[in-house]
């Protein structure tokens, strides 16, 4: 759903070039990162004790969009492709593919790829999985993306061909995540209760038990196609929602891995022994401020521009993120090469300029000031702090901000439906492709256009991003769209930030922080020195 960030696409876009050549996908991109520096070789054994920050709720990957659920499903399910620890797209259930023309992709399945119960996964399973995903009755939020699929052929048990309605550049990115396009087992789906608390896939781990609110227990999938990995015998993921409790649990050694969304929390460890803090390399999250543009005053571009210039983004980054953030837009800098990250001057109206903001307000007829509300959920303290700083800053240009605090579900619901009054701000997270970042939020025909604005130029740029076949052309389109959004101040981004920090015990080896804030790829290469 919201909250958290992502990884890079360099691998995919180049591989997506149209042609009749077979693209072989690297299978075992072995551990590229090493969490700890040790001369020991990875070895098998041990159960990793993890503290997760929220209850998964439901384990149905076709429906549940919460990261808490993804943390589990990304370990259990496989998909046609997957992302490795370095962020490269590699093969998973598929071993290779051909892309003979812009609308056709043919995948060859990996020989002997099996579900954890030992049954071989076939092209029929792949077709079944996409059929369930796109079935209206499933109500999957991802079904819209895959409406682009015209038909799926299964000429033999190990070949799947996707015929698309049109050229669709993001296609390979969208099928590389098990929580977007998991390969499902029909029998498991059709059992009573379905996939909400049961799960069976081709991924590196299998589900032993899920005790809601308490813990998820996983063990190594004995039928996983990689004979060497994962190294861990199992993973026990305990639900500890309270930040300081989670920190205490990793400090005392009750858990060996825990993650934190507020970069200030792990700092409290100070110089504690036997633990270290891992930081992602780049930003994949962003704070999104939306305006209700169906009515005054935010249907006036000058008012929106004034708000944009009245916010001192650098001051917010310094105060809220301890300087660990950047100025950017919906596609953050970590989404190379599509995202913007750089000085405020790179995006129109992003430079702090209260004098000009006042002029713009006067021009719009609000020279004597105006009062607006800003909706925010206190569940995420960073959102609230950002709102409070903005209230101070905007007060200086004569905009009196009323902060309206409502619970997360209410705030999110009204943000999506543009049913709030004035402004609304939520944290936005990693997406698998720049198309996922921008299209549904900004396209004028999208039912969830944030703020209800219409801009033909942006629509065209977003379409360019979908059909352009080279990375460079796609990047040009997305960069231009982001500049246009900043220029018209349709949506503001007070900052972009890293997904999370992870704290690990020294016994954990091979684990690295990924920009997306997801852990599946890293956990495949994780091993333990001396089992606890």
């Amino acid at each position: 759903m919201m909250r958290r960030s992502r990884t890079s696409w360099r691998g995919v876009a180049t591989a997506a070039a149209v042609g009749s050549t077979v693209v072989a996908l690297a299978a075992c991109g072995s551990g590229t990162g090493s969490g700890g520096t040790t001369n020991q070789k990875p070895h098998r054994g041990g159960t990793l004790q993890v503290a997760t920050d929220a209850d998964p709720g439901s384990l149905d990957p076709n429906i549940n969009t919460a990261y808490a659920s993804w943390y589990v499903t990304e370990l259990i399910y496989g998909s046609l492709l997957r992302q490795d620890q370095s962020g490269k797209i590699v093969g998973d259930v598929a071993q290779s593919y051909t892309h003979p023309d812009a609308r056709t992709y043919t995948f060859k399945l990996r020989p002997g790829v099996k579900f954890s119960d030992g049954r071989t996964a076939t092209s029929a399973d792949v077709k079944y999985s996409f059929d369930r995903l796109t079935d209206k009755a499933t109500a999957s939020p991802w079904s819209g993306i895959f409406e682009v699929i015209k038909s799926i052929d299964t000429p033999d048990a190990s070949t799947v061909t996707f015929h698309l309605k049109r050229s669709f550049a993001p296609f390979l990115s969208y099928i590389a995540y098990p929580f977007y396009t998991p390969i499902l087992d029909k029998q498991t789906v059709e059992k009573p209760g379905g996939l909400k608390n049961a799960a069976m896939g081709t991924g590196p781990f299998e589900l032993v038990s899920y005790q809601p609110g308490n813990q998820v227990t996983l063990k190594r999938n004995p039928n996983y196609y990689d004979k060497q990995r994962p190294y861990l015998d199992g993973i026990r993921m305990r639900v500890i929602t309270n930040d300081s409790t989670r920190l205490a649990a990793v400090r005392s050694g009750q858990v060996q891995l825990a993650w934190f969304h507020d970069p200030r929390t792990p700092k409290l460890l100070g110089a504690a022994a036997n633990v270290k803090v891992l930081e992602a390399a780049d930003d994949r999250n962003e704070e999104g401020l939306a305006f209700n543009q169906t009515k005054a005053p935010f249907n006036n571009v000058d008012v929106r521009r004034a708000i944009s210039e009245g916010i001192d983004r650098n001051a917010i980054i310094k105060l809220v993120l301890d300087g660990k953030g950047n100025i950017g837009s919906k596609i953050p800098g970590g989404a190379k090469p599509y995202g913007y990250s750089g000085p405020a001057s790179g995006l129109p109206y992003n430079t702090y300029n209260p004098a000009d903001a006042k002029k713009l307000l006067a021009k719009a007829g609000y020279g004597s000031g105006l009062t607006v509300s800003l909706n925010v959920a206190p569940l995420y303290p960073r959102d609230l702090q950002t709102a409070e700083i903005m209230r101070d800053q905007l007060g200086k240009i004569g905009v009196h901000v009323n902060i309206v605090q409502k619970d997360w579900t209410t705030t999110l619901g009204s943000f999506v439906k543009t049913s709030y009054d004035g402004m609304s701000m939520v944290g936005l997270v990693w997406q698998p492709d720049p198309d996922a970042d921008a299209h549904d939020l900004w396209d004028s025909k999208s039912p969830i256009n944030i703020g209800h604005f219409k801009d033909a130029q942006i629509d065209r740029l977003l379409e360019d991003g979908r059909v352009a076949q080279t990375t460079a052309d796609r990047a040009k389109a997305y960069m231009a769209a982001q500049k246009r959004v900043a220029d018209m101040a349709y949506m503001l981004f007070p900052y972009t930030s890293k997904a999370e920090d992870q704290v690990v015990r020294d016994s954990v080896q091979g684990f690295t922080a990924t920009d997306s804030g997801l852990h599946g790829a890293a956990l495949l290469n994780t091993w333990l020195t001396g089992a606890r």
Binding site: T65, P141, G144, K196, A249, R251, S252, G413
Partner: protein
């Protein structure tokens, strides 16, 4: 105490249940937001949200939903969670065990330490022990449970490295770890109530011990211990039972906070999660069960009152 008294109190359960259910149902649905938004997140279209609401039966008019729910409850079916599809009855049953243990553990700690401390501070009025007991209980009452809980966890992780303080292990799996892990949250929860038990016991003892019949007993040469424990304590306990009973409801409320701090998968965290996720059936089930629990405890206390003090009629 007559059987009709008990029957009357139990008979009152039904209208109370109905009232609580209607209020809970209305309040829950007054909160804006819906579970479809929680589950599907930001990328879902209104159509997809509507499809999911339909699947979950949440697109029906509210009175219709209430009547359906009530009908099912009368058949012993509390429904299924809209988030994870499990039966509400089994979810509550699973989550009740840790909460029940926590509340009982805390209650036992509060009573076992609170009543003797109250007696000590009453009988040693003005002495050092009294000063210690009353200032200690004031401190206990003043520290919010979330502060005390967090403090214990943070200090424990620093100085008692290796001791498992957070999370939950079922009694059946490992009784020793279960009790050692549960001790800390129970202590946290007990402390605020313990303070109240101490103060009530003290006040009640002091007023009882100043009664004429106590003076008479002493004058007749009844030994000090007998005066305190037989003549004094039994009479002093009547108001204490009432106060302690009222604290039970407080313990259930306090458990919500303690469970969150100590990551215990109990009714408290279930309640918070189901409010956050708008899991209406679970929330309605929890309200119904917890309300029933509190009502039953109150009935038991009423009965206990009459056992301790038969002068209280069947009023």
């Amino acid at each position: 105490m007559s059987a009709s008294f008990v029957a009357k109190r139990i008979g009152m359960l039904v209208p109370t249940w109905l009232g609580i259910s209607i209020i809970a149902f209305s309040l829950i649905h007054l909160i804006p937001g819906d579970p479809a938004t929680v589950i599907l997140g930001i990328k879902a279209t209104p159509d997809q949200r509507q499809a999911l609401l339909h699947q979950l039966g949440l697109d029906q008019p509210l009175p219709h939903q209430f009547v359906t729910w009530l009908g099912n409850v009368l058949h012993g079916d509390l429904g299924t969670s809209v988030i994870n599809g499990t039966s509400v009855t089994s979810t509550i049953w699973d989550r009740a065990a840790p909460s029940f243990e926590l509340v009982v553990f805390a209650f036992v700690l509060a009573v076992v330490f609170g009543i003797p401390l109250g007696i000590v501070s009453a009988t040693r009025n003005g002495k050092l022990a009294e000063l210690f007991a009353s200032s200690g209980s004031l401190l206990g009452m003043s520290i919010p449970t979330f502060v005390l809980g967090s403090l214990l966890i943070v200090l424990g992780s620093r100085w008692l490295g290796g001791i498992d303080m957070v999370g939950y292990v079922p009694m059946g799996e490992d009784p020793v770890r279960n009790l050692t892990m549960m001790f800390w949250p129970a202590l946290t929860l007990a402390l605020s109530v313990l303070a109240i038990v101490v103060r009530y016991t003290r006040t009640s003892m002091l007023s009882t011990l100043s009664q004429d019949y106590i003076t008479t007993a002493r004058a007749m040469g009844v030994p000090h211990r007998t005066v305190i424990y037989r003549n004094g304590l039994r009479n002093a306990l009547v108001p204490v039972i009432g106060a302690v009973g009222a604290q039970l409801a407080y313990l259930v409320g306090g458990a919500v906070i303690v469970e969150s701090v100590f990551a215990i998968p109990g009714i408290g965290t279930l309640t918070l999660d189901s409010i956050d996720q708008r899991d209406y059936p679970v929330l309605q089930g929890v309200v119904l069960i917890v309300a029933t629990g509190v009502i039953v405890v109150n009935i038991l206390i009423d009965i206990l009152y009459r056992v301790v003090d038969p002068r209280m009629g069947d009023a």
